[in-house]
C-alpha cells in the first residue's frame, strides 16, 4: 500500500502492560474524510489505540504513521496535536475555570510557543471562526459563561467545538454520547456526520443505536486486534462478532 496524504496507518501495533496485551498486532487504516466507528467490549484496546495515536502511550512494536512523512511514534503529544490530530476524551475535559469563549480561543489553530502566545490577540479571522463554531455547537448564547457551569451535554459540545477550532485533519472522539439525553445524542450525531468529509473522524462508542445512525464503516476490536470490519450490517451478521460481542 502506498502512502497517501492524511491517511492514518496503524500497522501491527502491540502494547503490553505487565504481560497483558492491550493491543495485539493491530492493523487499521483510516482514509481522509472518512467517518469510522470503532466498537468493542471493554478492554478491547480502543482507548489504548487512541493513546498510541496521540503519543500518550508508546507501543512495544508496530508502526503508526500519519500521511507521508509523520512517524507518530517519534513525536511528542503537542507535536502530534500541532500536526493535525485532535482528541476528544471520554470524560468531557474542558477547562472548567475558563469561559466558553476562552476555551475555544485556546484551541484555535495558531501559535503554541510561550513567547508568541504571550503577545497573541484574537484576530478578526479567529473571532469569525469562533462565532461560526459557537453557532455550530449551539453555544452562542453561552460564550461568556464559565465552562464548569455548563451541563454535561454542553460540555461535550464545547469539547467538540474546541476540536473544530483546532481544525485538525483527524479527529479522535471517545464515547461522545455517554450520558447524553436522546435529543443531545441526535444533535451530536448530526454534528459528527457534518464534520466527516472535511475531516477524518474516528469515533469510539458503545451505544449501538448511535453507531448505526452515523457510521458507514465500522471496525470491531476484540482483545487488542481487529475482529471484523465493514458496514454495520456486515459486522452485525459476522459470526465472530456475534460470538464475542453482540450475540452473547
Amino acid at each position: 500500500m502506498t502512502l497517501a496524504p492524511d491517511v492514518l496507518y496503524l500497522e501491527k501495533l502491540t502494547v503490553s502492560f505487565d504481560g497483558f496485551k492491550a493491543l495485539n498486532a493491530l492493523t487499521l487504516y483510516v482514509e481522509p474524510g472518512e467517518l469510522r466507528c470503532i466498537i468493542g467490549p471493554n478492554g478491547a484496546g480502543k482507548t489504548t489505540m487512541m493513546d498510541v495515536i496521540t503519543g500518550k502511550t508508546r507501543p512495544d512494536e508496530g508502526r503508526a504513521r500519519f500521511g507521508h512523512q509523520l512517524d507518530l511514534l517519534t513525536m511528542s503529544e503537542p507535536e502530534i496535536a500541532r500536526a493535525g490530530i485532535g482528541r476528544k476524551f471520554q470524560k468531557p475535559t474542558v477547562f472548567e475555570y475558563l469561559t466558553v469563549a476562552e476555551n475555544l480561543e485556546l484551541a484555535l489553530a495558531g501559535p503554541r510557543g510561550f513567547w508568541r502566545v504571550l503577545r497573541a490577540r484574537l484576530t478578526p479571522a479567529g473571532r469569525d471562526r469562533m462565532d461560526s463554531v459557537l453557532a455550530t455547537t449551539g453555544l452562542a448564547d453561552r460564550r461568556d459563561e464559565i465552562a464548569g457551569a455548563l451541563g454535561h451535554g454542553h460540555k461535550q459540545w464545547l469539547e467538540i467545538g474546541m476540536l473544530l477550532m483546532q481544525d485538525p485533519k483527524l479527529l479522535l472522539v471517545d464515547e461522545p454520547v455517554a450520558g447524553m439525553t436522546p435529543q443531545e445524542t441526535e444533535r451530536t450525531a448530526e454534528l459528527l456526520v457534518s464534520l466527516a468529509g472535511a475531516h477524518s473522524v474516528v469515533v469510539v462508542e458503545h451505544d449501538m443505536e448511535f453507531v448505526r445512525s452515523i457510521a458507514r464503516n465500522v471496525t470491531v476490536l476484540h482483545e487488542g486486534s481487529v475482529l471484523a470490519e465493514g458496514t454495520m450490517d456486515q459486522v452485525q451478521n459476522d459470526q465472530n462478532v456475534i460470538d464475542v460481542y453482540l450475540g452473547a
Binding site: 485556546l106 504571550l118 503577545r119
Partner: protein, 378 residues
C-alpha cells in the same frame, strides 16, 4: 451600578477589570506618601512612625512580594513550590555580597578587599565568584540571574521529567534545604552560619541614615507594585490563559498542542526572579542575611500567607502576607509560646472555612475580575 460602570470606563485598561488591583495600587501609593510624612513628625507626636516600625513595614512588603511570586505559580498554575525561600535568599545573598564589599577597611580586620570572615578563615585572596560584586550594577544583575538561572535549570529538569504535584513540592523543599546546608559551610565562601551583617553603605550613602532607609522602603513599595503589574499582565495574556488551562487540565492542554513544560518553566523563572528581587530589598533593610533564610519552614510560611489571603488573586497573597506577618509580630511579642500554634490553627481554619482565603469574604459583585480571571477555589 451605572455610576460604577462609567467610573470604570475612565480607568486605564489595565485597571478596568481589576478592582482588587486598583485597591492595592491605591494603598501602596498612600503608603509611599504617608510613611515619609509620618516619619518626619517629631518623635513626641503619637503619629510618629519610628525607624523600627519603618523597617518592619519594609520587611512585610518584601514578604508580600515573595507571596505574590508564590501565588503566581501556585494559584494560577497549580505548582506548589515549597522552596521559594531559596530564590528569596539567593537574591538576598547577591545584595549581601555587594554590601560586604562596600565595608572596605571599616571591618574589624580592616582588610581593604577581603570581608572579615575571609580574613578570619585565613584566606589570602577573594574567591572568583566574589569578583564584580563591588559594583552595584553587577550585584543587581546577579540578583536577577542567580535565582533566575537556578529556577531555569531546576525547572527544566523537573518539568521535562513531568514531576508534578506533591513530588514537585518535595523536591523544591529539598532544593532549599540542600542550599541551606551548603551555605552553612564556611568553605563555601558565603560567611558560613553567620552569613553577612554589619553592612555600612549602599551606593556610597550610609545604610543607617534615615534618608537611605526611606529610599529603600519606597523602592520596595515600587517593586511590589511593579511585580503585581508584571504578573497580572502575564496572567491576563493568552499565555496566562494557557497557564490556567495547565492547572485545570494538564494533559488536555498538551493535546491542544501547547508545550506545557515551557509555560511552566517561564512562569517558574519569572516567579523566582520576583522572589530574588524581594530578597535583595529585604537584606539592606533588616541588615543581615544568613543560611537560616533557606530554612524549609520559611517556604512553608509563604504558602500559608497565600492560602490565608486567598490564592489565585495576587492581591490576596499580598494581603495575606501583610496580615499574617503583622499577627506574627504581635503574637511573638505578646504571647511568644503560642505563635506557632496560632499559625497552624490559622492555616487549618482558613482551609476548612475560607477556601478562597480572606479575599473570598467580599461579596462576589465587588470583583468582576474574579470571574474573568476564572479563579479556582483552593
Amino acid at each position: 451600578m451605572s455610576t460604577r460602570t462609567s467610573i470604570a470606563h475612565r480607568l486605564p485598561a489595565a485597571l478596568r477589570d481589576d478592582t482588587g488591583g486598583t485597591v492595592l495600587y491605591g494603598l501602596l501609593a498612600a503608603t509611599a506618601i504617608a510613611v515619609p510624612l509620618l516619619t518626619a513628625l517629631p518623635s513626641s507626636s503619637p503619629f510618629n512612625l519610628s525607624p523600627y516600625v519603618l523597617t518592619l513595614l519594609g520587611k512585610y512588603l518584601c514578604y508580600a512580594m515573595l507571596a505574590l511570586a508564590v501565588d503566581a505559580i501556585w494559584g494560577y498554575c497549580g505548582i506548589l513550590s515549597l522552596g521559594h525561600a531559596a530564590f528569596f535568599s539567593l537574591g538576598g545573598y547577591a545584595m549581601g555580597m555587594y554590601l560586604m564589599r562596600q565595608i572596605g577597611t571599616r571591618g574589624v580586620y580592616g582588610d581593604p578587599i577581603l570581608p572579615d570572615f575571609m580574613v578570619f578563615l585565613n584566606w589570602k585572596a577573594l574567591p572568583w565568584f566574589w569578583y564584580g560584586f563591588d559594583h552595584f550594577w553587577f550585584a543587581m544583575v546577579m540578583v536577577v540571574l542567580a535565582p533566575g538561572l537556578l529556577a531555569l535549570a531546576f525547572g527544566w529538569l523537573a518539568f521535562r521529567s513531568r514531576v508534578t504535584g506533591v513530588y514537585l513540592s518535595i523536591i523544591t523543599q529539598a532544593l532549599s534545604y540542600a542550599l541551606m546546608l551548603a551555605f552553612f559551610r564556611n568553605d563555601m565562601g558565603f560567611g558560613g552560619n553567620n552569613g553577612f551583617t554589619d553592612f555600612k553603605d549602599i551606593l556610597g550613602v550610609p545604610l543607617s541614615a534615615p534618608g537611605t532607609r526611606m529610599a529603600l522602603f519606597v523602592a520596595t513599595v515600587v517593586a511590589l507594585a511593579a511585580s503585581y503589574a508584571l504578573t497580572r499582565a502575564l496572567l491576563r495574556s493568552r499565555a496566562g490563559r494557557v497557564i490556567r488551562a495547565i492547572r485545570d487540565g494538564e494533559s488536555r492542554t498538551r493535546f491542544l498542542g501547547y508545550p506545557v513544560e515551557s509555560y511552566k518553566l517561564w512562569l517558574f523563572v519569572v516567579s523566582a526572579v520576583i522572589a530574588g528581587v524581594a530578597g535583595a530589598l529585604y537584606v539592606p533593610q533588616v541588615g543581615i542575611i544568613n543560611p537560616g533564610e533557606f530554612a524549609p519552614i520559611n517556604s512553608i510560611e509563604v504558602v500559608i500567607w497565600v492560602a490565608v489571603g486567598g490564592r489565585g488573586t495576587l492581591y490576596g497573597a499580598v494581603a495575606g502576607a501583610l496580615l499574617v506577618n503583622y499577627a506574627k509580630t504581635y503574637f511573638t511579642g505578646a504571647l511568644p509560646e503560642v505563635w506557632l500554634y496560632a499559625l497552624g490553627a490559622l492555616f487549618i481554619l482558613v482551609t476548612l472555612l475560607l477556601p478562597r482565603g480572606l479575599v473570598g469574604l467580599r461579596p462576589a459583585t465587588w470583583f468582576p475580575s474574579r470571574r474573568r480571571l476564572g479563579v479556582r477555589p483552593a
